[in-house]
Symmetry: C2
Subunit: 272 residues, 2 copies
DNA sequence: ACGTTGCTGTACGGAACCGTGCAAAGTCCT
DNA sequence: AGGACTTTGCACGGTTCCGTACAGCAACGT
C-alpha cells in the first residue's frame, strides 16, 4: 500500500532525508505514517528533527503557535494552568498524534502548556505556515489531523468523568495506561511529584495509591519509576474511563490501512 | 456587512423561508448569524426548524450522526456516560454553537448523549450529508464550525481543571455562569437533581452549595429554579475556570464582524 | 379537600482526601 | 567516604464530601 512510508514503531528514525528521491522512509509518528504518500509529500520537505529533554516546553499557554511537532519518541503532557502557579494535566500526547492541533481548528494560539515528560524526546517539527498551506491543499490531510484532535477531545472528556467519578487509585491506573500506550517500554519514568500534577492531588496520595496498585501486583514502583507488570489488571482497576478513546483512535485513523502488517501490532489494539 | 442575516438574539425566529429570494432573515443561532451570506446560503436550503422538550435527546452516545442542530433557543447538556447508569456533564451548548461537531472532525458517530435542558428548545436541523457537502465546498464554513468545536474543547479543558482544583461551591458558580451565558433570561430552570449530574456530586451537596451562593447574594434559589442576581459576584466565586473560553469564543468567531451593532450586545462580551 | 408526587432542607456517621511536617532511603557529586 | 539533594514513606488532625435517611413543603390531579 504505502511504499515510501514504512511503519516501524520499534525503531523509528527521526531523520528525514530531504534531498533524496522518495525512497523508503522511517517514521515513528503514527499519524505521519498513516498518511497517503501524496499527503506525506506535502509535509516532508518542511519536517525537521528536534530533540527535547524532560521538562522542556514544546508550547506555552497563550503563545502564538509558530510550529507544530509530530512526536517520534517520548510523551508530552498537556497542562492547563490556573491563575496561580498550579497546573493540571488535561491529556497526554505521544507518537500517535501531534502538538499544535489548535492550528487546524482555526486558532493561532496554544491554550495549553505542553511539556516533554520522557527522557528522550524526539520529534519532527514544521512551521505553522507550511502546515496551514498543506492542509489548504489537501482535505484528506486536514481530516487526518482533525481526527487526532477529535480523539484527543474524547480523551479529555473521559478525564472529566474520571475525575468526577473515580477514586485516586482508579484514576492513577488510567493515567499509567495512557502513558504506557505511548511509550515503547514497560518502564514509566515519573516521580510521585509528577503524578501529583496529572491527578491534581497531593504527593502522598500518589504514594498511597501506587502502593495499592502494587499490592494488586498490577505494577511495581521503584524510585522515580513505575514498572507496568500486569496490563490487564490495570485495565480492570482503571474501569470504564479507559478504552473508548483508544478504540476510537484505531477506528478513525487506521480503518483504511492494511491491518495485516505483522511488524506493527498497533499499540492501541491491545485495548479490550 | 451582512444584510441577509440580522442578529436578533432577543427575538429569534426559527422559521426559515426557503422559497424566498435572499431577504432579511432572522436567525437566533450566533454561529449561523456569523456566517458570510455565501456560506449561510449553502446551509439555508437544508435547515428545518425543530422543537425539543426538556429531557429530549438530541443525539445519543454511540449513534451515527444523521443530522446536526443549530440551537436557536434553549440549552443542551453534553453528557458522557459510564458503563453503569451514571452520566456526567462535560459541557453545555446553546445558541452559540451547534450539536454534531464530530462530523466536521471526521467522525460519524456521536460520542456523547446530548439532551435539551431548557423548557423551550428550538433549533434548526439539517442532514449530516448536506452539511458534509457544504463544508466540502466552503473552507471558510468548515473553519467557522471547527472554531466552535475548538472553543467547546477549551470549555472541556476548564471543566477538568475545575473539577480537580475547586470546591463544589466554586464549580457550581461556574456552571451557573455557563448556563446563564446561553439563556436569554436571568432565570435558570434546573432542579438540584439536575445540577447533581453536571457536578458529579450528591444531591444534598447541591442544596448546600446553592445556600452558600445565596448567602453571598449571588443568586436566589427557588423551587426548580435559580435566579441569577449578581453576575459579578458569581464570577468572583467561580474564580479562574470561568472566562477564558468565553473570551476565546469572541476572539475566534466574532473578530471580523462589525462590533458596532448596538442591537446585539454579544452575550459573551460581558466577560471581564 | 385530599392524596400523590416531586423538590428541598437537614442530619448522621463514615470515607476519602487534604495540608503539613518529618524521617528514611536512594542518588549524585566531590 | 561524606555531604547535599531528591525521592519516598508515614503519621497527625482537619475538612470536604459521601451515602443514606427522613421530614417538610410545593405543585398537581381528582
Amino acid at each position: 500500500m504505502s511504499t515510501i512510508v514504512s511503519i516501524t514503531g520499534a525503531t523509528p528514525c527521526a531523520a528525514v532525508d530531504r534531498d533524496d528521491a522518495p525512497v523508503e522512509r522511517m517514521v515513528g509518528n503514527r499519524l505521519l505514517a498513516s498518511l497517503s504518500p501524496e499527503d506525506f509529500g506535502l509535509l516532508a520537505p518542511h519536517l525537521e528533527p528536534v530533540s527535547f529533554a524532560v521538562g522542556d516546553f514544546i508550547t506555552r499557554a497563550g503563545d502564538p503557535i509558530e510550529s507544530i511537532c509530530f512526536l517520534e519518541q517520548g510523551i508530552a503532557g498537556v497542562l492547563d494552568s490556573l491563575d496561580d502557579d498550579r497546573r493540571y494535566a488535561v491529556g497526554l500526547v505521544g507518537a500517535e498524534g501531534f502538538i499544535g492541533w489548535p492550528l487546524v481548528m482555526g486558532d493561532d494560539r496554544s491554550p495549553y502548556d505542553v511539556t516533554m515528560r520522557a527522557e528522550r524526546g524526539e520529534a519532527l517539527r514544521m512551521p505553522a505556515k507550511a502546515l496551514l498551506a498543506a492542509v489548504d491543499q489537501s482535505p484528506t490531510l486536514h481530516l487526518t489531523l482533525l481526527r487526532f484532535a477529535h480523539v484527543f477531545m474524547l480523551q479529555m472528556g473521559r478525564t472529566v468523568v474520571s475525575s468526577l467519578a473515580h477514586s485516586i487509585e482508579r484514576r492513577m491506573a488510567r493515567w499509567i495506561l495512557l502513558y504506557h500506550d505511548r511509550v515503547q517500554a514497560d518502564e514509566i519514568c515519573m516521580t510521585h511529584e509528577e503524578f501529583r500534577l496529572m491527578l491534581g492531588v497531593r504527593r502522598s496520595s500518589v504514594t498511597d495509591a501506587l502502593h495499592r496498585l502494587e499490592e494488586e501486583h498490577a505494577i511495581r514502583a521503584v524510585r522515580a519509576k513505575v514498572l507496568v507488570h500486569d496490563r490487564t489488571k490495570l485495565m480492570a482497576l482503571a474501569g470504564d474511563t479507559y478504552g473508548q478513546p483508544e478504540q476510537d483512535y484505531v477506528r478513525l485513523l487506521e480503518m483504511d490501512r492494511n491491518a495485516d502488517d505483522p511488524s506493527n501490532p498497533a499499540e492501541f489494539t491491545k485495548v479490550r
